[in-house]
């Protein structure tokens, strides 16, 4: 089985490639990059398109098992394919929690039958994500988990976090940390400041993130184990991370599209599509996050795709669930950074491909000869209007509905197979 992608601009940061080239795929692997003159029946004309390693979302919530009315492995993977992702990494806060090998095996098995893209699970750090006892981290890794996290429930017990880091170091597993001080956050649900005051909603100050970022950096330094800081949202957190990286502390971090392009001002009128944790911050924070991406202080993008149905969202703001979906909008939204000249095209690709793969030790994110033929084709000039009614995801809780954006996914190819093709 052969496939050739012709005339595209191939951008692969893993081999510092940014040139017009053809790609030959054979038996699901990258066979050759260069000029392909072989006569092959299956040809994709990629003229005017960007051809990259398949995009990786290192932070997705799939809701299966347990909350299949919000998303399933099937619908989540379809949404991912439509969004240009060939690989997604799913968080452990399902029901039951993915805190043991049986749940991991279930997810792997379900992925094989229900998904055309690659799905790697994250295992819970603590049993039941209760923040009390370590889960069986070794068994989780053997079953296929690529990282450990209680995402959604910050690990408040620093002793447990320290021990988890010590333990994970041996298994070469990064710990992904959701940084919010549970006590300082309290019942806070939007950024603390003028807007929380006007709306009469309890605030969640930036300091709740910064305290935990500082703690996790200290623990990474102490244990020499890798901490990956999820969905960073504040300027001061960026400063702490920049300093830690200078000191060669093993930390990495990610940022979401919504924290880059939205502020707490969007919450006015109590629109629950702007309610998530950590909350949307100020425009000053957005500017700092963009600069940190440019300076590679922030390593990667991630969606924090968090599906919720109208049952959880179309209600009182204070009662509504935290979280927004992102798989089907993330590439177009973050591509604005290239248009705004914040990032180079290669940087943008790297933060969605090579860096997530490196952070989680995935054999992905590259178009090197012999690698799995996971490829995304992106049209950088196509103008689209984001319409949530067209989503493959089961949920509709996007903050970007109605946005006009430039740049759209054309093809998503996994293991040499086209799993999504844009149809007008």
């Amino acid at each position: 089985m052969k496939l050739v992608i012709k005339n595209g601009t191939v951008i692969d940061p893993s081999q510092k490639l940014n040139a017009k080239k053809d790609i030959l795929v054979e038996d699901g692997k990258i066979k050759k990059i260069g000029t392909i003159n072989e006569n092959i029946t299956t040809t994709i004309d990629a003229k005017g398109l960007i051809v990259t390693p398949g995009f990786i979302d290192m932070h997705t919530h799939l809701r299966e098992p347990g909350e299949e009315h919000k998303e399933t492995i099937r619908t989540g993977s379809e949404a991912a394919a439509r969004g240009g992702f060939t690989t997604i990494v799913c968080m452990a806060n399902t029901n039951p929690v993915n805190d043991n090998a049986y749940v991991t095996q279930f997810i792997k098995l379900k992925s094989k039958t229900d998904s055309h893209i690659n799905i790697y699970p994250i295992g819970a750090l603590s049993k039941g994500m209760r923040g009390e006892e370590l889960s069986e981290i070794g068994s989780l890794k053997e079953a296929g988990c690529v990282g450990i996290s209680d995402d959604g429930n910050p690990v408040m017990n620093s002793y447990l976090m320290r021990k988890a880091l010590d333990y994970c170091r041996h298994f070469h597993l990064p710990i992904i940390s959701h940084c919010e001080d549970h006590y300082l956050k309290g019942k806070g649900m939007i950024n603390e400041g003028l807007h929380s005051t006007i709306l009469g909603l309890r605030g969640n100050p930036s300091a709740s993130e910064e305290i935990m970022v500082a703690r996790d950096i200290a623990l990474a330094h102490l244990t020499k184990a890798h901490v990956h800081l999820a969905h960073i949202s504040t300027e001061a957190a960026v400063r702490l991370i920049a300093d830690a990286k200078k000191r060669r502390v093993p930390v990495t971090c990610e940022v979401t599209p919504h924290h880059l392009f939205l502020t707490d001002e969007a919450v006015k009128n109590y629109d629950t599509h702007f309610k998530m944790a950590p909350p949307l911050r100020s425009s000053k924070d957005c500017i700092a996050l963009k600069r940190a991406l440019k300076e590679n202080i922030i390593d990667a993008f991630a969606t924090d795709h968090a599906p919720h149905s109208t049952l959880e969202k179309n209600i009182e703001f204070e009662e509504a669930a935290f979280g927004v979906i992102g798989l089907e909008t993330a590439l177009s939204i973050t591509f604005k950074l290239v248009k705004e000249k914040v990032l180079t095209l290669s940087q943008w690709v790297e933060k969605w491909t090579l860096r997530p793969a490196q952070i989680l030790n995935l054999p992905k994110g590259t178009l090197k000869i012999g690698a799995d033929a996971d490829i995304t084709l992106f049209n950088p000039t196509q103008k689209i209007k984001i319409n949530k009614e067209t989503f493959k995801s089961k949920s509709r809780n996007t903050p970007f509905h109605g946005w006009n954006v430039e740049g759209n996914v054309c093809y998503t190819i996994v293991g040499g197979k086209v799993v999504y093709a844009y149809k007008n």
């Binding site: 603390e192 400041g193 003028l194 929380s196 005051t197 006007i198 709306l199 009469g200 909603l201 605030g203 100050p205 009128n269 109590y270 049952l311 179309n314 209600i315 009182e316 703001f317 204070e318 009662e319």
Partner: protein
């Protein structure tokens, strides 16, 4: 009366003082005054109208005030009380309200413990809504009756300094009064322990003080807020005793106040806590006038909305 009744307030729902303009406020207050000066039921034009009181939080004063206002206008009202949220009850707030709307009421009055709940309803209902208090957000009819009371006592609002004392962070009365009184030209100072002053409130152009004694002399109006014991833990302030020491309004504190100061309180009073009995019952107090004016302010709003009809 007729002419005043034809005036329309700009927002179709009365959700907060934030959305009302100065002309809106002036026409509501003018009509309220008219009602006050016409003691008998002024009109039977509303005898076929129905008002729904949808209360998700206990209330004696506000609910009975709305009920009396409705009855004085010749309309009928029904009361629905509930104490649970969409997530606990199994029926969402929107479903509850849509079911009520299907019975064709003319106005829906809502009080809810959750900030913004009336906003959620305003997106889906065509029946005019009056916010009777939502979480820590707004309580517009309270602010309107406060403004009417101030104007009666002082002859004006513009140029006055209004001191609001207590738990500002968790007070919808404070927020509504800040927006309303500022639009009418008053200057606002909020006063309370730093733990109960919401962040960035100075950006709303209000003065901030943490000592009642230091600012009491500047006030033309002192508005005391109820300390909601049930909402406090011992982290917001150490004890009732220490709260009284710094923020309780006593005769002693009042010695430094202006001779013609007026004292207000939205009720219910915690006698001996935020306000001493002698102050609440003393000559400066206009607390019961507030309650009286509450009825006519609500009559004014209800009649304007019932006249205007459904929102297209």
């Amino acid at each position: 009366m007729g002419k005043l009744l034809d005036k329309k307030v700009n927002p179709k729902h009365i959700l907060g003082m934030h959305d009302l303009s100065r002309p809106d406020i002036l026409s509501i207050l003018a009509l309220a005054k008219k009602f006050k000066n016409t003691p008998k039921a002024p009109t039977q034009a509303f005898s076929h109208k129905t008002v729904v009181n949808l209360f998700f939080e206990p209330s004696t004063r506000t609910r009975s005030s709305f009920e009396i206002a409705t009855k004085r206008l010749g309309a009928s009202s029904i009361n629905i009380t509930s104490s649970s949220s969409s997530t606990i009850k199994g029926e969402t707030l929107i479903d509850t309200a849509k079911n009520l709307e299907a019975m064709n009421p003319d106005v829906i009055i809502i009080r809810h413990f959750s900030s913004g709940a009336p906003y959620v309803l305003s997106q889906v209902l065509k029946t005019p809504i009056i916010n009777a208090g939502d979480g820590f957000h707004e309580h517009p009819t309270q602010a309107l009756l406060d403004m009417m009371t101030i104007e009666e006592a002082k002859g004006k609002i513009s140029g006055l300094t209004v001191l609001i004392v207590g738990d500002i962070a968790h007070s919808r009365v404070a927020r509504s009064n800040i927006y309303g009184l500022q639009k009418m030209g008053a200057k606002i100072i909020v006063c309370g322990p730093p733990t109960l002053i919401p962040p960035d409130i100075q950006k709303l152009h209000v003065g901030v003080s943490h000592s009642l004694k230091e600012v009491v002399s500047k006030a033309d109006v002192i508005m005391m807020l109820r300390i909601q014991e049930e909402r406090q833990d011992r982290i917001q302030f150490p004890s009732k005793r220490e709260y009284i020491k710094y923020f309780g309004l006593t005769l002693d504190t009042l010695k430094q106040a202006k001779k013609d100061v007026i004292i207000m309180h939205p009720g219910p009073l915690n006698r001996g806590v935020e306000i001493a009995s002698e102050v609440a019952d003393g000559p400066y107090s206009v607390i019961l006038n507030q309650v009286t004016n509450g009825v006519v302010v609500r009559m004014a709003l209800l009649s304007m909305l019932m006249k205007a009809g459904k929102i297209e």
